[in-house]
């Protein structure tokens, strides 16, 4: 992916740029809001990482300006404060995802990957497929290799979220946000226990586990069979 990083803190900027380059992405960096907006409107980016606080033009205004100009490049916004109200403001302002500093690089990478492939809500298909699993979002049914699988609503939501991004890592916090709508991390293993229940229902009578646990990062559902 071609990724634009707009972040005035050189350390953070380099930390993100180096990590993303190592993952094989093309990276353009900018340390200033106006400069960042100039690059962004130049186009050709698959995703952007934008800091909330920037010299020249703050991150929120940058995204608003970008959206007003009809540019819909996915934006991951970074913020130094937990910003309980900030978060809502950022998402309403046109950012696609929000990440609070400090963050682990794996978290940023996972979120960026999920962003790059996120279809708009209107364009989302009603059927999701990953390997031999088919999930119907409208009828709320799951079928694995022709066998119907009965899931609890939360287990269904969890599977759907994984299947929206097949082959991509979903971190614990991403799943907590998207499945449970929690923007904080409980000490209790909510994600793990729900996932193990989902697994046992999904895998009953099958040899292979389509859900992979990536240690220290999160979970992914395998794309192919």
């Amino acid at each position: 992916m071609r990724i634009l990083i707009v972040e005035d803190d050189t350390d953070t900027n380099q930390f993100i740029a180096r990590g993303l380059t190592e993952l094989g992405h093309q990276v353009v960096t900018s340390g200033d809001g106006r400069d960042g907006l100039f690059h962004a409107t130049d186009g050709g980016f698959d995703a952007m990482v934008v800091d909330r606080m920037l010299p020249g033009l703050d991150g929120l205004s940058l995204v608003k300006a970008l959206r007003a100009a009809g540019n819909s490049t996915p934006v991951l916004m970074l913020t130094a404060v937990s910003g309980i109200a900030d978060r809502v403001e950022g998402l309403e302002g046109g950012a696609d995802d929000y990440l609070v500093k400090p963050f682990a690089f794996t978290e940023l990478a996972a979120r960026l990957h999920a962003l790059g492939r996120r279809p708009s809500a209107a364009a989302e298909p009603s059927r999701l497929v990953a390997g031999d699993i088919e999930l119907d979002l409208h009828r709320r049914t799951v079928v694995r290799a022709g066998r119907k699988i009965i899931l609890q609503p939360r287990e269904f939501a969890l599977l759907a979220e994984l299947m929206r991004h097949p082959g991509r890592i979903m971190t614990r916090t991403m799943l907590l946000e998207r499945v449970w709508d929690f923007d904080f991390d409980p000490k209790t293993n909510i994600v793990e226990t729900h996932l193990s229940r989902l697994r046992s229902k999904l895998n009953a009578g099958f040899d292979s586990d389509p859900i992979e646990t990536v240690r220290g990062a999160g979970y992914l559902i395998r794309d192919g069979g």
């Binding site: 109200a85 409980p186 909510i190 729900h194």
Partner: protein
């Protein structure tokens, strides 16, 4: 001094001045009215006397002259004087030494001589048949005397009033200034660093004492917050020293280690210590953020029953797999004005607490119900509980029951709960043994 009237003295002086001016106007009107009334009365008297003379003289000038002579002989009317002249101004009768005005009617100020003294009289001239003119005059001494007394009395009263007004202004100014000076001194002392100073009360319970009491309460509150802040920062420093030391030890280890695999392990351990530290900081920041929230600005109606049910549903599998039993009783359709995510976090922290700090087989109850005036949330368990002494401390940052701190957590969960409850204007209490329970009322 600009705008002198804004000061107490100026204000009272201005009011006194206003009163004085009003009194002056009232005095002038009263004087004028009495004066006029007296003059009228005098006119009336003169007119009656003139009519009486004419009646007695039966329209002839001789009869009138005789009547004048009779009156002057009797000298019964000392304050009245008479003079009757013919067409050529020759005196016929009457001893009043003055010139009779040629035209009939009233003359207000008629000079005349009495025993060689110049005096002023009020007179009425009447024309009798044969062009004789009759003058009846009354001395104005009575009116003048009355005027003089009135003015004297008025000036005396007015002066006294003015003095009294100025005196009162001065006094009120002094009293106000002295009382304000006490508040001022206290404030100055606090600015200078003596935070324990309070405004002294006179005990009279007046307005000044009222203000002083409020100020003192405000100062107490600020002092409480300052103490809390001091406590928190020293706690933060204290509680972060241990993990920072561990972090440093791990990094030292990594530096000394030759074996690259072991070195990597040490660095990983250091990284995990660092991320734990960051977690503590995030939790502290979040608590501070919630506490300082310009809250209620973005509050919305939250279906509390649904939020509680969701959190319970999220926790149930994990709690069951850790050997706890989670029993919930949720009254449906309870709503409150708040921040849904914060309320979720509050519930999560409470259930985290129950799951982390109680042994296997513990039963955890979560009840949400409405009483007559509030929504009541209770998270209770039949675990070992805490002592009565420890219970109220637990809402403070870094407060933990286990002094050895071997159990997981940083002692920030309940502090966050307290902050969230406070921002929702709720009340939270902890019930000590047997078991452990947090009761929250919104």
């Amino acid at each position: 001094m600009k705008r002198w009237w804004r000061g107490t003295f100026g204000l009272v002086a201005a009011v006194a001045l206003g009163f004085a001016l009003a009194t002056l106007v009232i005095g002038a009107v009263a004087f004028e009215t009495t004066h006029e009334a007296l003059e009228l009365q005098l006119d009336h008297r003169v007119a009656i006397e003139t009519q009486a003379l004419i009646d007695e003289g039966q329209d002839g000038h001789e009869g009138v002259a005789a009547a004048i002579r009779r009156r002057e002989a009797a000298s019964s009317t000392a304050s009245l004087g008479y003079r009757l002249v013919d067409a050529q101004n020759r005196p016929i009768a009457g001893s009043l030494s003055t010139i009779v005005p040629p035209k009939p009617g009233y003359v207000e100020l008629l000079p005349y001589k009495s025993n060689g003294e110049e005096r002023i009289a009020q007179s009425l001239t009447t024309v009798l048949p044969g062009n004789y003119r009759l003058l009846v005059a009354a001395d104005r001494a009575a009116i003048d005397e009355m005027d003089r007394r009135f003015i004297l009395l008025f000036l005396g009263a007015f002066g006294a009033m003015l003095l009294l007004g100025i005196g009162a202004a001065w006094l009120v100014g002094i009293v106000t200034r002295r009382r304000l000076a006490r508040i001022d001194h206290t404030a100055a002392a606090i600015i200078a660093g003596d935070l324990s100073r309070r405004v002294p009360l006179t005990g009279s319970g007046d307005e000044f004492d009222g203000v002083a009491t409020t100020l003192n309460r405000m100062l107490d509150r600020i002092a409480g917050l300052m103490e809390n802040l001091r406590q928190v920062s020293s706690d933060v420093a204290h509680d972060l020293r241990t993990p920072l030391t561990r972090l440093q030890n791990r990094l030292d280890e990594a530096l000394r280690e030759r074996d690259s695999e072991l070195q990597r392990e040490a660095i990983e351990a250091a990284a995990s210590e660092a991320s734990e530290l960051l977690e503590v900081f995030s939790a502290l920041l979040r608590i501070a953020e919630v506490e300082g929230m310009a809250a209620r600005a973005h509050f919305q109606t939250v279906n509390m029953s649904a939020v509680v049910a969701d959190v319970v549903e999220a926790f149930r599998p994990a709690m069951e797999s850790s050997g706890h039993q989670l029993v919930s009783r949720i009254s449906p359709g309870l709503t409150l004005s708040g921040d849904r995510r914060l309320l979720q976090q509050m519930l999560t922290n409470l259930l985290d607490n129950a799951a982390q700090h109680t042994p296997q087989g513990t039963m955890v109850h979560l009840d949400l119900e409405s009483t007559h005036d509030c929504i009541r949330l209770a998270v209770t368990d039949d675990g070992p509980g805490v002592s009565e002494k420890e219970a109220p401390e637990l809402f403070n940052r870094f407060a933990r029951v286990d002094p050895s701190r071997s159990t997981p957590g940083h002692g920030l969960g309940l502090a966050m709960v307290a902050a969230i409850v406070a921002v929702h204007s709720g009340r939270a209490t902890i019930a000590p043994r047997p078991g452990f329970g947090v009761y929250i009322e919104f």
